[in-house]
Symmetry: D2
Subunit: 324 residues, 4 copies
């Protein structure tokens, strides 16, 4: 059994990790750490876990094999500076601290996008888990990057669920505001753009074109719907490109190309990514959907753990989607 | 023109008052008072009012004819203790301070349920505007109280929209929590029970039976849906009772009895109350719907103002419902 | 491996069965039968199953060990009259055909409420899977029935998600109608009342008091929230009764008593039932929540299958809830 | 009083027209025509109108001054071929029949975008009311077209509420499907593209660049949120352009430029259009919001009527927004 510790245990991504790991056949949760709730039952904060665990929040870990950092962005560095991990303990960071600056105190963090870095991840000790928006966009673009077909600007609109904004209540997550509402935030300057660019290069793109990215807040709780297009000047037949998408993901158990147009709930509560590709007006148009908390965060983190520990990639991740 | 001042101007009920009063043909909004936002444009807080008003939040009022108190419950007393109103200024309090204790510093507050106290309100200077849950339940029961037919326990489930919980964000108004969710709160002990009981007596009930009231939080923004039943032992034919409901509300321009079963959105964004009555299992079952912010708060407050100033009761309140 | 056939394969409960059974470690889906979609990929109808199955809809079954009937209410009889099942094939009917009339052509259908009939189900060949509303109400009342404490009228309001109304679109499932809306239907006369009454008797109640049941349509997709109360005249201390609830369900892996008040999403997308108990006004008040498609239909059907085939009751049913 | 007849009276846009016109001070609704519901009370179909009208659906009109056609797209021609209108009767067509082919049987239909064609509309007898998506996009682009600054491709994502799909229930308007969901439809080829192009030319654009338009289905009932950008190579200071937007709409009582970013509900249930403008990456980015049923359909139709009959443009259209 892999002994796991979860740090930052009261937040959304920690809750989602617990939901997944409590049913993972090869994991034992050693500790769930929260400085604010020490001694409290985990199921009193993550109320849906009633009957599934008797764990209490702990102040610190014991001897985990792997530690998941579910802290706010910027706080993982802090944590690692202040806490000495046991010998050999691996790290999976769900924050953004090491995605673009992967070296810290002699540790090298591997960017944990399994569909791109599967082999590196198998050998890695430290993982920077990708951002949710970034995951949805990268899955849509990796096959084009691999063929070095990203030559022109990329246009992205992506709409995210409210859980992407975290647990702390605020104006734009107030139900009275958000229900039946939509809004744009940080247009053209979202912080995930850097990791998207770096990843496309790593995937084989000789250049990273400008990405015009308009993120939006949707009035749903889970999921990201990304609509992406870029010029298609290639002489390759369109069907051929769709086939290359399928080949690219043939070994990936969670990413699929749909012949039919897709709707967000087809992936909600699963670790899947679905893509749909059409060609119009001289553009290739890709829609890409993931669950922001699963494939966009905690599910992908477990997928990384599975690879790091030599398990089947899908272990504990064959989740029943909610569909409705 | 009636000069109006609104105190507590940044909250939900103040915003809704503004939405109504800005289009009221006989009202001039003299001041919108907020201690926290003095000098700020009103339309920066109530963003939907852009283009409809250039008012700024003020520190205090000038010479209003009527002042609407949109403060948190318990704060109206405070305000009246600390502020001297101009001679002759009327008060409509949307809080619960004077609903059950109507006398304060020599002022007598009339309970502003227009359908019951229309004539008293016409002569009143001070109004305690009814609570939202209370309004939905009282409208359902007034005709039974008037016939003194409330002899047995009354069973009430009533589900409210998120705006009933006010503007301050919190755990149970977080979109991630509330969307697609339901919960019970304060079962059997909601604070509106007292005003409901008092009102039924005032309406003619020789007794006030026990009211078993289960309030619920719904995953919608506006409206209250109340489902109410009590024993029906009367020898009166059922159709006759329905007719008496219709007669009771014949002079009330906002309350109607529907022959068909009703759904909440039939009243949302209007000042209407709709009732539907059936008889089953020896019970009379009444469903009652209002918009909590309109008939349950600010619309009813304007209805009271209209009566107090001798205007047509519906002035400024013929609102387009949203229906969807 | 248990070979399974699913009849009525395009509907909601069939889809949900597939979502569960595709990941069940001891099940092989032999056939998914739909007279209207023969030859079509199952994942074209249940779009979220893309990448999880290559099954096609079939016209008929081969040699299943168990057949799940996911037909409209009243159609299971028809199906069994027209189709000859293989020798020894078990049946789990998700419709209401055999809940109240359990004998059909020499077959005796056991009422599949595992928490009551666990031992009978282990020996049964034919199961009538309980209704969704009925399940939520029965779980709330079984411990009281077992103590023969149901002496007075029972008051029930229960609100259901839209998936309870099935796949065929109609007026009350139109998004424009249902979003942010609420309505009552079939008050005091819902068809599940009979099976609830029968079950309470079977659970030990010497009588079945009148049940005043007001079902409502909620503006969410999954789940039933039931709020139930009945007179509490017992001399038993209240804490003692709560302990008896816990004892009653001690051996049941999916039903739990929550000390804190509950909200619907704590069970959504899981096979759990959660109960919360309070005492007020001389009443015992129980709130009860389930996912109508899982514990209220397909999950419970799999739970029954597990028992019938001697498997651990929770096999394939340790589902990650959606929580949000 | 203007005598009005509404044809196609049971649909969504007819209902919304009724909601507006019943409170219009200078309108008398002469007839609401529906071939399927003759003799039925209008308030039995549009249930929220209970208490507001006793009108019955009629088979035909009498002597209206203006007739609103609320028929399905393509059916207005049919209607006009089969029905002889009274002498002098004006027509406002809410369908798309005459938007791009404005001449029919000697009648010339004026494109009813008030913000562009105000003066022409004042003199027109026949109006082709703009489409909802088109309205949201055109309002965003008119000032650029007027300055002839549309030189490059235009990128548009626009998300619409479910009422845009009409009353007939179907797969993509089923609550179980649509709630918490998102999907793309008709990407790059929506039928409104033609009227957008024609209008931009009429507004002063010397060319109509390619418009890359991705329409989406949102999980809300009312409203369109459009996010639009195009290259900004102009030497004009950015603030200057924003001022030109404000000037362009200075005489338009319903369209406003917001300094702050906007969210959809700021216009829901009103006839307003709000715009917000930013500059990033060499692009001008405009967000544009309207209520699809009001400014995008019936409200705009009444605005046209007001202009045609010499009334104040805002008569009957100072609607209380819902805000929540």
């Amino acid at each position: 059994m892999i002994k796991v510790s979860i740090v930052g245990g009261t937040g959304y991504t920690a809750g989602e990790l617990l939901r997944i790991l409590l049913h993972h056949p090869l994991v034992e949760i050693e500790s769930v750490i929260s400085t604010t709730s020490v001694g409290m039952p985990v199921a009193e904060v993550h109320r849906d876990l009633l009957g599934e665990t008797n764990l209490l929040f702990a102040e610190t870990f014991d001897q985990p094999d792997v530690i998941f950092l579910c802290l706010g962005h910027g706080l993982s560095r802090d944590f690692l500076e202040k806490n000495r991990l046991p010998q050999g303990c691996r790290i999976i960071d769900l924050g953004n601290d090491f995605r673009n600056e992967p070296v810290f105190e002699g540790k090298e963090f591997c960017f944990g996008l399994c569909e791109l870095n599967r082999e590196m991840i198998r050998k890695a000790d430290y993982i920077a888990n990708p951002g949710c928006f970034a995951t949805s966009v990268m899955l849509a673009l990796l096959p084009l990057a691999a063929e070095d077909l990203l030559r022109d600007e990329i246009h992205v609109h992506a709409i995210t669920g409210s859980t992407g904004a975290g647990k702390k209540p605020g104006e734009t997550t107030h139900f009275s505001y958000r229900d039946n509402n939509l809004s744009v935030y940080k247009p053209f300057k979202h912080q995930h753009l850097t990791e998207i660019g770096n990843t496309l290069k790593a995937a084989g793109s000789s250049q990273v074109p400008q990405i015009n990215f308009v993120p939006m807040r949707g009035d749903f709780t889970r999921g990201i719907f990304a609509s992406i297009y870029t010029k298609w000047h290639d002489s390759m037949p369109q069907m051929e490109m769709i086939e290359r998408y399928k080949s690219y993901y043939a070994a990936s158990p969670f990413v699929f190309v749909s012949e039919k147009s897709i709707s967000l709930k087809e992936v909600v509560n699963s670790n899947k990514g679905l893509l749909h590709i059409e060609f119009h007006n001289g553009y290739i148009h890709i829609t890409s959907i993931i669950d922001n908390l699963v494939k966009g965060a905690s599910g992908q983190a477990v997928q990384n753990m599975n690879l790091m520990f030599g398990l089947e990639e899908t272990t504990g991740l064959k989740l029943k989607g909610s569909a409705f």
